[in-house]
């Protein structure tokens, strides 16, 4: 009454071995087209990255703001290529798959041929193409890297250069800059006591941010130690999971021993993770405080707050 049986028959009528040859040609053609299409898109991404990276590197030194716009633009174009790939895949490959799939019977011998087609195409699209897209994206993103050592050193050099150059607007006497000012400061003249306003350069105004960036850069090995431990814990977890699956089919004393040993390792690793993170955080914040001593108290409060966070 719901036309179920008629549908069943019509599907079976479509699923005739005479049709297999035609479908085979269609699948082969679609696959070849997809592979060629993606290859051309990958070439475009490569051309773009090759041309953009030197330009980005030059712009980074010249103008941070323009660099940001250019970087966004290049990433936007990489994304447009990826969107085109995904959209085309949905339209062309999935459509062919669905239309053939609708015509064949579940038990048809052509089913595995069709499944194989989809597997090959999706592997090309979602593994190989995606990998290449990510590689080009990372290549472009690398230009964003800021060398904070260099930036901090230029703040120090600038301070050395100007610290004895600031003169009182009233009497002309030297007002020595006893520290790196990173905000506008009113400085009294030691000779005539009149008030002088000192304006730090745009570079010096970045001291707080540069301090954090440099502190993070200098303590990166500790952060890596923490991430490595996280990875190790995940690895042990997966090994344990495999053993558990094996044990489900019959547990032996040997297997049990192996599982206990892994469980022990995992507990050890799990306990180390927060210890390593705290070690990194403490070192990073201490370094930051050292680099920007004027804000050491506030930076310490920031650290303490993170330790007490409820979520």
């Amino acid at each position: 009454m719901f036309n179920f049986f008629n549908k069943e028959t019509s599907r079976k009528n479509d699923d005739q071995p005479e049709q297999y040859a035609g479908w085979s040609v269609l699948l082969d053609e679609t696959k070849e087209r997809l592979f060629a299409f993606l290859e051309k898109l990958e070439e475009k991404m490569e051309e773009l990255a090759d041309a953009a990276v030197p330009e980005l590197n030059a712009m980074k030194k010249e103008d941070e703001r323009e660099f940001g716009n250019l970087l966004n633009g290049v990433l936007g174009q990489l994304d447009s290529v990826r969107n085109k790939a995904q959209k085309t895949y949905e339209e062309k490959v999935e459509e062919v798959y669905q239309s053939v799939d609708a015509q064949i019977d579940f038990q048809s011998s052509f089913h595995s041929r069709l499944a194989h087609f989809r597997e090959e195409c999706s592997d090309r699209m979602f593994n190989l193409f995606e990998e290449k897209y990510s590689a080009f994206r990372n290549l472009v993103m690398e230009t964003e890297h800021t060398d904070y050592e260099l930036l901090y050193q230029s703040i120090l050099d600038e301070h050395d250069r100007i610290k004895d150059q600031f003169r009182c607007h009233q009497c002309g006497d030297t007002i020595v800059l006893t520290k790196i000012y990173f905000s506008v400061a009113n400085l009294p003249c030691p000779a005539c006591s009149s008030n002088n306003t000192f304006h730090p350069s745009s570079l010096a105004r970045r001291l707080e941010e540069v301090g954090r960036g440099l502190a993070e850069q200098r303590t990166k090995p500790l952060l890596e130690k923490y991430s490595n431990e996280q990875e190790r814990e995940r690895e042990i977890y997966h090994q344990l999971h495999q053993l558990k699956l094996k044990a489900a089919g019959g547990q032996t004393a040997e297997l049990k021993q192996e599982m206990d040993a892994l469980e022990h390792l995992r507990k050890e690793s799990k306990a180390l993770i927060p210890v390593y993170y705290k070690e990194y955080q403490r070192a990073m914040f201490d370094e930051w405080k050292k680099l920007v001593p004027d804000l050491a108290e506030q930076t310490e409060n920031f650290y303490q707050g993170l330790q007490n966070r409820k979520f």
Binding site: R33, L34, F37, K40, L41, K44, E47, L48, R65, N69, L70, N72, G73, V74, L75, G76, Q77, D79, S80, V81, K84, T88, K92, F182, S183, V184, A185, N186, T197, E208, L295, Q298, T299, N301, F302, G305, L306, N308, R309, K310, F311
Partner: protein, 280 residues
């Protein structure tokens, strides 16, 4: 239908203490049940699970959206952080104490109005000078870092909606100090959610084409970044205060549609995307 307290959104047929005690009881029971398997990291998700369960049980007929609304209104209490549109000033919070006499509200008003007035005139109206404002501009953002509940940053966002109405600013405007006049696009941005979504979408698409999106809006509609952010805060607070997932989805889709439209427009202006000539 249950009666809800308009402020806390708790049902009025029980007390908050009763609710909290039951919530705590369920959480403790769960911790006991887990025994050795209990992981402290899971506590926030257990808390949310029982909060939702209990709210639905004690307030039958409330929808998922009403629960989210309740969660937003009580986020500080149950989750430990502030929510836009639900955060109030408090004299007891040391992180909100004025810095060099400048409250967070003052700081927001000065920072947002710096382009609208002569800077020295603006500082003077608040009884400070350039040096103090410069220092305060370092210290208020530091306070935001110190504050793990996000109260300072959330209030900053809320105050951003009223930067034109600060008494000192109103006084300055009265004295004819305001540089920028009214702008019909800005009024539309404030009253028409579709227009707001369209400009947000245009901004996103602009950045993807290497264009400074904030500048693009200023050039084409005369709305500067500060005003845009102020209106963005208003829409965000309004959406939190009248939480409706269908509406959010509707405007999300509209935003997506407009983003595509502007992508096509910017692409056309730049002679297309790099892979336009490649065919399947």
């Amino acid at each position: 239908m249950m009666q809800l307290n308009p402020e806390t959104l708790h049902g009025t047929h029980y007390t908050e203490e009763q609710f909290d005690a039951e919530l705590e009881r369920r959480i403790q029971a769960q911790i006991e049940e887990e025994g050795d398997d209990y992981d402290e990291d899971d506590l926030p998700s257990w808390r949310r699970h029982f909060l939702k369960q209990l709210y639905a049980e004690w307030n039958p007929g409330t929808s998922d959206d009403e629960f989210i609304q309740f969660e937003l209104a009580n986020s500080m209490k149950y989750s430990g952080y502030a929510s836009m549109g639900f955060t109030r000033e408090s004299d007891e919070n040391p992180l909100l104490e004025p810095i060099h006499g400048i409250s967070l509200k003052d700081y927001t008003a000065i920072a947002a109005n710096i382009g609208n007035f002569d800077a020295d005139q603006l500082y003077k109206a608040f009884g400070i000078d350039e040096a103090i404002f410069s220092e305060v501009s370092v210290l208020w953002p530091k306070r935001m870092q110190e504050d793990t509940t996000f109260t300072v940053a959330t209030l900053y966002g809320q105050y951003f909606m009223e930067v034109g109405n600060h008494p000192v600013i109103l006084q300055l405007k009265g004295e004819g100090g305001a540089a920028s006049g009214n702008n019909e696009h800005l009024d539309k941005l404030r009253s028409d959610p579709y227009f707001y979504e369209e400009l947000s979408a245009a901004r996103t698409a602009a950045y993807e084409y290497g264009i400074d999106g904030a500048q693009w809006i200023e050039q084409n509609y005369g709305i500067n970044l500060v005003d845009f952010q102020s209106v963005a805060s208003e829409w965000m607070a309004l959406r939190n205060q009248n939480f409706n997932s269908d509406e959010i989805l509707h405007f999300g889709n509209y935003n997506q549609e407009k983003t595509e439209e502007y992508r096509a427009k910017f692409a056309a202006e730049q002679g297309g995307n790099i892979a336009d000539d490649i065919q399947f």
